[in-house]
């Protein structure tokens, strides 16, 4: 029995593995339901709709994953998204020559917001939940006071970013996946990425091990805001006007956190990865698509989403309830022999 237990411990099913099994299940069930409605789930048009559905939430969820890995949260993303679409739309004003300036300014504004978030969280020691809730309120007040309705406009050349696709894959999804690859490289290959896991896992242990705890937290908040800004630019390209309510309508703050947790990342930080988050985002996109095809009442969609979130997280939340206590497990036979020999 103990042999079986050790064997199972050596080849554990990672939470990312479970996410993709759940995704496959959702796809199969979705394909069956779609077929029962007389439509083809795997048609190019439908696949492209699903992929388009992943892009906006994908950008935001990648940033949210980084922030959550560092043990913080970002609730300001929906307002950053709206602000970015307004700033870029205002500067572009329908002129192709202004596209670069608009994109640059929007992302710069977002980076500054993220910097402030990061500084407040790391230096003032305010919990990420409250710091970014406060920052979200600050931006929301600014938006409500300065913009009555949609504002600015995107030139045709910029709108193409939202409309062009290669085969069934929209350009926007490719950009999103590019960001995901960069984020994965940062987590796996750079010093700041490793420090990020350390700080998120246990801040004081990281500190006592000689890691400076502030820089990773600041960097992830900046990245999260910039990625939320890119989501805002994408929405601007699709709608061709900036809107002060586009972010909060989407509920991107809570939905992105749900996608991250659905992707197997621990909400407490220090454990998780980008790949799982992409799986979580894809689960939401497939779910939305199937519900649209089945023409489910839009209000009931929220009910189903809520149930799926809780059930899916419950499936693997039980597994790693004490993820960091593994080393205190009952020692295996060899371990105890080594202990005795000493």
């Amino acid at each position: 029995m103990s042999a079986a237990r050790t064997a199972r411990r050596r080849t554990p099913l990672t939470s990312t593995g479970i996410v993709f099994i759940v995704l496959a299940l959702v796809v199969v069930v979705g394909a069956l339901l779609t077929a029962s409605a007389g439509r083809n789930f795997f048609s190019t048009g439908n696949l492209s709709t699903i992929l388009t559905g992943t892009s906006v939430l994908g950008f935001i969820a990648i940033g949210q994953t980084l922030v959550i890995l560092a043990g913080s949260l970002d609730l300001s993303v929906p307002f950053v998204t709206s602000l970015s679409s307004l700033v870029a739309g205002g500067i572009m004003a329908g002129q192709t020559s202004n596209v670069a300036a608009g994109v640059f300014m929007a992302l710069a504004v977002c980076a500054v917001i993220g910097l402030v978030n990061g500084l407040v969280v790391s230096l003032l020691d305010v919990h990420g939940f409250m710091a970014t809730l406060g920052m979200g309120l600050i931006i929301s007040g600014y938006l409500a006071s300065n913009y009555q309705g949609s504002h600015g406009s995107a030139p045709r050349s910029f709108r193409l970013v939202g409309a062009t696709r290669i085969g069934p894959v929209p350009i926007s999804v490719l950009i999103m996946l590019g960001c995901a690859v960069l984020a994965i490289l940062m987590l796996r290959r750079t010093r700041i990425g490793h420090h990020l896991y350390a700080v998120g896992g246990d801040r004081s242990v990281a500190r006592l091990s000689g890691v400076r705890t502030a820089p990773p937290v600041i960097v992830v908040h900046v990245l999260s805001s910039v990625l939320a800004g890119m989501a805002g630019l994408l929405l601007l390209a699709r709608l061709s006007v900036g809107s002060p309510t586009i972010g909060s309508q989407g509920g991107y703050d809570l939905m992105s956190i749900a996608a991250v947790v659905l992707g197997g990342t621990l909400l407490a930080g220090g454990k998780g990865n980008i790949l799982g988050t992409l799986g979580g985002v894809a689960i939401f996109a497939v779910l939305d698509n199937v519900m649209s095809v089945m023409s489910v009442n839009p209000f009931l969609k929220d009910v189903i989403r809520g149930l799926v979130i809780v059930v899916a997280v419950a499936v693997y939340a039980r597994r790693d309830a004490h993820p960091r206590l593994a080393r205190f497990d009952k020692p295996s036979l060899t371990d105890s022999v080594v202990q005795e020999a000493r």
Partner: protein, 373 residues
């Protein structure tokens, strides 16, 4: 930071260190903590409001203000139980909405149905709390996600039921709970029922927090592992906290029917306002620290702030911005004050060089840690 405890002095046991000081010094010490400081803040804000609009200081309008603030203060008291045990309740706003819509549609103009529906609402509230609590503690799903799921599900159901429009209009006798009051009181003119309900809820909450339940709840929020080893049943403890939170949201909903009428958007954002009030009251996200009346005082401070902005002619669109700045400032201040206030004797001797107190730096993040871990 609580009132003098007669039981300790009466029973002849040695009082704990914090109780050896004189009453005056203890009060001063309490005011220096964020939980006490919020009362000073509320007083200052009240003074500022009265200075900008002297008629606000009349007893009649003051007690009406208390009545207006009662729902949010009650919600804050409910949220306090959950937050102090180290969890989150994001479903509060959706519960408020559900109860308001239920009252509107089930009671109708029939006075005879008021009491049965009232009981049904309380049962539904308690049931939602049990679901939240059991999913969080036994299935070990983070409370942030559980209550987010409940929020989506409940608000979706309510919108589906009502079609997104204002429907139903409960009998006037039911609306009187939120609107009416005891008339012809000498100085105050009228005592609104919501103010009386708030008084009852606050008293019950204080009593509850002094009982073993409250003490263990704070212990479980501070260090769940220690509370578990000490023999308390964590899942039942936290489930009761969630039930209290949902019941508080139900009571707030009952009052709001009288004030705001029946509309599916009536409870929108209530959870974040309640959490803001609790945090403004110096209660630490992550659990284990804070006083229940400070949470209620936080709600009053928030409402007074909005009233002040109104009287000062600040556009209502800037309300959010001011609220955001206040939240960040309050939490930044509270974090330092708790650390400084906890060990007054050691704070002088080189706190800067000493490594951070492990109990404060490794405290689990609020709602992010699963159930019992």
């Amino acid at each position: 930071m609580t009132a003098p405890s007669a039981t300790v002095e009466g029973s002849g046991r040695t009082p704990i260190a914090a109780h050896r000081e004189t009453l005056g010094r203890r009060l001063l010490g309490a005011v220096a903590t964020p939980g006490g400081g919020v009362f000073v803040l509320t007083g200052l804000l009240l003074l500022a409001v009265i200075l900008s609009n002297p008629s606000f200081g009349e007893p009649g309008s003051l007690i009406r203000f208390v009545g207006r603030t009662a729902p949010i203060a009650i919600a804050a008291i409910g949220q306090y139980f959950v937050i102090v045990s180290g969890e989150f309740d994001l479903s509060m706003g959706a519960v408020v909405t559900t109860q308001v819509v239920m009252a509107g549609n089930l009671i109708g103009q029939d006075d005879g149905r008021v009491v049965p529906v009232l009981l049904l609402m309380l049962v539904v509230g308690a049931f939602i709390g049990v679901v939240n609590g059991v999913l969080t503690t036994l299935l070990k799903v983070p409370s942030f996600i559980v209550t987010l799921g409940t929020m989506l599900a409940l608000s979706g159901l309510v919108l589906y039921w009502t079609g997104g429009a204002a429907t139903g209009n409960p009998a006037d006798s039911f609306r009187q709970i939120g609107r009416g009051g005891i008339e012809d009181v000498p100085v105050l003119e009228v005592i609104p029922y919501p103010a009386l309900i708030l008084l009852a809820v606050a008293t019950a909450a204080v009593v509850l927090m002094r009982r073993p339940f409250g003490r263990t709840l704070i212990g479980a929020g501070d260090n769940p592992e220690a509370a578990r080893l000490a023999g308390s049943s964590l899942w039942w403890l936290k489930t009761r906290a969630f039930v209290l939170s949902s019941l508080a949201a139900t009571v707030a909903g009952i009052i709001l029917v009288g004030y705001a009428g029946v509309h599916p958007s009536v409870g929108r954002g209530y959870e974040f306002t309640a959490i803001t009030a609790v945090v403004l009251g110096g209660v630490v996200l992550g659990g284990g620290r804070g006083w229940v009346l400070s949470a209620a005082a936080g709600a009053f401070a928030l409402e007074l702030l909005f009233t002040l902005l109104n009287f000062r002619g600040v556009e209502s669109t800037w309300r959010d911005t001011v609220q955001g700045v206040i939240i960040i400032a309050a939490v930044a201040f509270a974090g330092r004050a708790w650390q400084a206030g906890r060990r007054p004797s050691r704070s002088r001797s080189g706190a800067a060089t000493a490594p951070p107190d492990p109990s404060t730096t490794t405290a689990p993040d609020p709602g992010t840690v699963k159930g019992e871990s």
